[in-house]
């Protein structure tokens, strides 16, 4: 039997064409024009014919996770490793007055003291020094021995102080950034004046923390020589490996980045980060591996956050409730960063609009991407003003949304969600309820949108081994959303195999080009590449079998009952067919294809709450979410993702928010004790629905949209229940009582 070489190379320089798209870079959306290969468009099979995909599939890494065997970066131990800890600036701005390096070096077990800021710190939590030691304990002793002394310098950590005349400058340039404007101010203001009803209000959202259960950190395994392996709790294996190579002074190809499992990132974990750079520096110096994980306090202070916003919105509508004009003036609070805020009107159309957005900088760590950056903030402003407008005009809260939604998908979603939450039976559809009973029930709504869309660079490889096993590989990482599982499932679907017959490899920078997992791009990047690789592997396998069996390559079909050929009556078992492969098996590389993904995911949510007007306490009773997802690869995992997003929004609505003491320059809640994320007793009944009316047969990322509208819906529901309009998140009992005029 003569066998041809098995690898199917990518075609040489296929023709390219340009497409406009939204790309997400490190979690932030940007409009770009990209070049894509003009290859024949791949297609997913019709939904009705899917055997594995679009079903509930338990994850392939479930067993390793539930058994406790899954290794996270925090758990990596390598021989000769030293442990490092960070000293952080305890003040937003200070002169580093004293650091006793000799004393720290003299602590038994301390092997290295690295000073990263000698003069002046410029933000609360800024790393000042790193101590590495034989034990974690000795590293802590070393930090204490430094006996660091900081002399306070004037700082600003709140809006009012930052914009005041003569305020201490935050870095170079003015504290208030240049305005980013959009729309026609004169037209928008004229439309407002002519509107039948208009309202104006100011809404404020706090800084939210990602609060991943695993903190940031790395293990740099470098012992001298030419090679290193870096383990990192990150959303981008290839990105940090390249950065580490640079810092270690090694060739990029010699540094391997590994992310086997990681404990959540939500947009905060892209690069190597400061602690990763320091770990590399120490490893290079000592020629020993370094373990450096942030502790929880450092995680709160220095690992990024969702920027806060304060926005004043004025909106008007005509007698029917159509938005005629909207003017928004907003300030973003992103610490040293610029912060993010999506466009207003958010997801709705207005006759004319104008917005003026500026960032206000403070001596605090820079905000980062966090699950749909900019969207929840904009949603809270938009959905709140829309409700206020509806009440002022005496309109139904669902009707005003249906009328103004910028896409018809939201109209159908609003109808369904309203039905699920029981809107038609609800007594307060055009006016809020009164605080006249112990438990006031209210309902609120919100809609959201995310661009999604994959990275055109993503590639994948499929190997079919002679023993019938299949391996799918891509460098992208699984943040817990189920990437491994759908990689295996796509191959299983393609070759008619059980999912267990396929092994998925990922989270390793040496594998085919992956993508930074942020902004819901992983699935629309990886799944098309894997599908393309599978299609090519199937073609190559058919060509091989055609040769072996003397049949036409086109006639082969792969299914759960084995390999069939149109011209043959008998079937060939998969394992038999694979047995005819050469010793090295068969492999094929695939590339991302636009036709296999889809962009633009819309979501609608409703929340039902109970407010106790005596105590101001809010309980969320029921949340409904209906979301487009394109082709769902694994319905079980999609729903889990959606629910996770809804509950992060519940936290944003009712409990989360960074609390600072401006005078003392402290964060008051840099721990899970005071920074309250939702726990099991707060979880409402959740109705999580995949919008199967979205028949687009491409995959989309699903993680961002569900995290957006929930907080807005809950805030509106609180008002709807008892008339308490709280315009500042989180809605804590004191604010409810204040809004009800019960405390002054």
């Amino acid at each position: 039997m003569k066998l041809e070489p098995r690898a199917v190379p990518l075609q040489d320089a296929p023709p390219k064409r340009k497409v406009k798209t939204t790309q997400v870079v490190n979690g932030i959306e940007t409009e770009v024009e990209i070049e894509v290969e003009d290859v024949p468009a791949g297609q997913w099979p019709p939904r009705a014919s899917l055997r594995v995909l679009n079903h509930d599939i338990p994850r392939v890494d479930g067993p390793v996770k539930v058994s406790g065997a899954a290794r996270y970066t925090h758990d990596v131990r390598v021989p000769g490793m030293v442990w490092a800890r960070l000293l952080l600036s305890p003040l937003p701005r200070a002169r580093v007055a004293a650091l006793d390096l000799e004393a720290a070096r003299a602590v038994p077990g301390v092997v290295h003291v690295l000073v990263v800021e000698r003069e002046e710190t410029g933000w609360l939590g800024q790393p000042v020094a790193v101590v590495a030691a034989e034990t974690l304990e000795a590293a802590g002793d070393g930090l204490r021995a430094l006996a660091a002394r900081f002399e306070p310098l004037p700082w600003v950590v709140d809006h009012a102080a930052a914009v005041r005349e003569g305020a201490p400058a935050v870095g170079r340039g003015a504290n208030v950034g240049r305005p980013e404007t959009d729309g026609d101010e004169a037209r928008a203001r004229a439309a407002l004046s002519a509107s039948a009803t208009r309202v104006r209000a100011t809404y404020t959202v706090p800084v939210q923390h990602h609060a991943s259960l695993e903190t940031h950190g790395v293990v740099v395994d470098y012992r001298g020589g030419e090679d290193a392996v870096v383990y990192c709790s990150t959303q981008y294996a290839q990105g940090f490996a390249a950065e580490a190579a640079k810092e270690l002074g090694l060739k990029a190809g010699n540094v391997r980045g590994v992310v086997e499992h990681m404990g959540g990132g939500f947009g905060s974990k892209f690069g190597l980060d400061a602690q990763g750079l320091y770990a590399c520096r120490i490893a290079k110096e000592l020629k020993r591996p370094v373990h450096l994980m942030l502790d929880r306090r450092a995680e709160f202070l220095m690992s990024g956050n969702r920027s806060g916003t304060s926005m004043t919105i004025e909106a008007g509508c005509d007698a029917q409730g159509s938005l005629t004009g909207l003017v928004a003036e907003a300030w973003k609070h992103g610490g040293l960063g610029r912060g993010s805020l999506s466009g207003l009107p958010y997801c709705y159309k207005a006759g004319a609009h104008f917005r003026d957005v500026r960032s206000v900088r403070m001596h605090l760590d820079a905000s980062r991407a966090m699950r749909a950056p900019g969207h929840p903030q904009a949603s809270f402003g938009m959905e709140s003003i829309l409700d206020e407008l509806a009440y002022a005009a005496g309109l139904d809260l669902v009707e005003i949304r249906r009328r103004n939604a910028a896409h018809p998908a939201w109209v159908r979603q609003l109808d369904r969600v309203a039905r699920e939450i029981g809107w038609d039976q609800h007594p307060h559809r055009t006016q809020p309820g009164k605080p006249d009973r112990e438990e006031c029930i209210g309902i609120g709504f919100g809609i959201s949108n995310w661009g999604s869309g994959g990275s055109s660079d993503c590639e994948a490889e499929v190997r079919i081994e002679k023993d019938g096993s299949v391996v799918v590989a891509c460098a992208a990482q699984d943040l817990g959303t189920g990437t491994r599982m759908y990689m295996a499932a796509i191959a299983a679907e393609e070759f008619g195999l059980p999912v267990a017959a396929v092994t998925a490899r990922l989270g390793d920078s040496r594998l085919p080009t992956g993508v930074a997992s942020g902004g819901s791009v992983t699935t629309p990047s990886v799944a098309p590449a894997v599908k393309d690789a599978c299609t090519r592997a199937r073609g190559a396998f058919a060509a091989h079998l055609a040769q072996v069996l003397g049949r036409s390559a086109e006639g082969f079909r792969f299914g759960p009952d084995g390999v069939r050929h149109d011209g043959m009556t008998e079937r060939l078992a998969w394992s038999k067919a694979c047995g005819t492969l050469p010793a090295e098996g068969l492999s094929a590389r695939g590339k991302w294809q636009e036709s296999l993904q889809t962009r633009g995911v819309r979501c609608t949510q409703a929340a039902q709450v109970a407010v106790d007007p005596g105590t101001g306490r809010v309980r969320v009773l029921h949340m409904v979410c209906l979301q487009e997802v394109g082709l769902a690869l694994n319905r079980l995992a999609v729903k889990s993702q959606i629910q996770g997003g809804m509950i992060q929004a519940l936290g944003y609505a009712l409990g989360e928010g960074r609390q600072l003491d401006s005078a003392l320059g402290l964060q008051l809640n840099a721990s899970f004790e005071e920074y309250k994320i939702p726990h099991a007793l707060e979880i409402p009944r959740m109705t999580t629905l995949i919008d199967d009316d979205d028949t687009r047969n491409g995959v989309a990322g699903v993680g961002e949209p569900p995290a957006i509208p929930g907080a807005s819906a809950i805030a509106n529901a609180v008002h709807n229940a008892c008339g308490a309009r709280v315009r500042e998140l989180p809605i804590t009992p004191d604010k409810v009582l204040l809004a009800l005029g019960k405390v002054v």
């Binding site: 539930v66 259960l213 929880r296 996770g644 979880i683």
Partner: protein, 205 residues
Amino acid sequence: MRPLRLTVNGDTLETAAPAHWTLLEVLRYRLGLTGSKQGCDKGDCGACTVLVDGRPQLACLTLAALAEGHAITTIEGLMPLHVAAGGDGPDPVQGAFDRCGALQCGFCQPGMMLSARALLNRNPCPTRGEIREALSGNLCRCTGYTQIFEAVELAVAESLGVAPAPRAWEEQRMKPAEAQEQARRAAAALAAARERNDGGPGARS
């Protein structure tokens, strides 16, 4: 340094650590048992939950020395202990978490599952409210908890040999009447089991 003699997952282990070390530190930094997670190190997140004589305990707030003489179970021991007790494969809690997709990143899961196991040890057929209460010290940032509650309910239903109430994620595929009927039957079976168990011993000792 203080010598320590700990019974972990049925094995007697001898080690030494500074006298002030917590059980979590000894597990993770002496014994190489990294399944118990260090999420906050101060008793706020529950990721370090282990069983001490079958009861849930935060390893980050437990002095290792005080754990001497007690049976410690970590996530690594859940399946071996289940098998040693005559069970087959993983502990039913682990199997249910896997099948219900009750995890994403999985960092909270070891603690979550041990809290669930401890609950079922003392109350073999808990209500949803009791499940929430028992898990309220374990934070999860990824899942939204619902599939976790359902996983515990699945483990309960299976131990009683009844079909579980349909999980929220399954409802779309079932006819509403069917789903209601199955939920009703599951509730009745659980109520009956609770009645039987009232005041009686736990299902597992």
